[in-house]
Symmetry: C2
Subunit: 193 residues, 2 copies
């Protein structure tokens, strides 16, 4: 993977602000990879590509979702903010030949999370949430947790995200909710009966 | 259906407080049925029976869930508070021959709601939430909405319930979440893109 060429491609596809966000997510993800023992190479690729399709035309993303059997049609019933991760997981294989399922999944699910997140899923999801440019309510608590507990930090991020959406009377994509429930069980160890 | 006999049965099965709650839910549900044009007979039966199994022994309810193909095993992974509605929907058919699917569904889903709630589902779910003995935060707003808009009142109740559970770091049964999303779309009319 020629990272320098990729960076040129990213700069052409993204706004300056989004490109800088991507670099900060990559730095944060690499710190998490070191702390929690994940492949540096996979982490770097997933982080650099996570917003690769952020500014693709909506019609183009919609067509990709409709015609690609690996992407759930359900996405189209939810906010288009959720489309760019799944679409990127397809585009990077077409354009860069990236077929590594762990990398593709981490990109696919970086906005929502999912049940049974892999370590790489968690690192990309969390890095996107806590990179130093982020300033939403609760992010400092998540940053603090991320120093010692990857799963608990992801739980806090997933919980904050779902609660924020509900506060705003927005629908919640099922994977976000499954991430919340599943991470809750990982953190608190089963159901309190 | 001999309602007086049923009331004796209920008094034997429930605590005094729970029996009184059942009568208040029934009164509230009948008011909603009148306001929103639902069958009085179906409403009365569903309301009277909604907590019929509230105090059944957990082991007995667990066995019923495990051995009855109409009840989702998934229930066993969530708090036992969720078991009594689905179990009652089976028991009332066994004991009273109540086979009306609308009544059974309204009892089944009275705690969680579900996607695509029927009018009777909504009436029982809402009456259980707003009956005059209830005093949790937000209930007065829901009572007020219920005067004019059954679906919006259910949405507010579902939203309050899910938010309360997440506030307490509790898992959320998928049907509760599906009810939230689906009622949100009924109230706000589709996705804001």
């Amino acid at each position: 993977m020629d990272i320098e060429n990729l960076k040129v491609d990213l700069q052409e596809r993204l706004t300056e602000g989004r490109y800088e966000h991507t670099l900060r997510v990559t730095d944060t993800a690499l710190e998490l990879a070191e702390a929690f023992h994940e492949s540096v190479e996979n982490t770097k690729i997933a982080a650099l590509f996570h917003d690769y399709c952020k500014y693709d035309p909506l019609e183009e993303m919609q067509k990709t979702i409709e015609t690609n059997s690996k992407l759930p049609d359900l996405l189209l019933s939810f906010h288009h903010e959720l489309w760019h991760g799944p679409v990127a997981s397809i585009r990077i294989e077409e354009k860069y030949g990236i077929a590594n399922q762990e990398i593709k999944d981490a990109i696919f699910f970086h906005t929502t999370g999912r049940a049974k997140m892999t370590k790489l899923d968690k690192i990309i999801f969390l890095a996107d949430y806590i990179e130093p440019g982020r300033s939403f309510p609760g992010v400092d608590e998540v940053r603090d947790t991320a120093k010692t507990d990857l799963t608990k930090a992801c739980y806090q991020a997933a919980r904050n995200t779902v609660r924020f959406l509900m506060e705003k009377n927005r629908t919640v994509y099922p994977d976000s909710f499954h991430a919340y429930n599943d991470l809750n069980q990982e953190v608190f160890g089963g159901i309190d009966k």
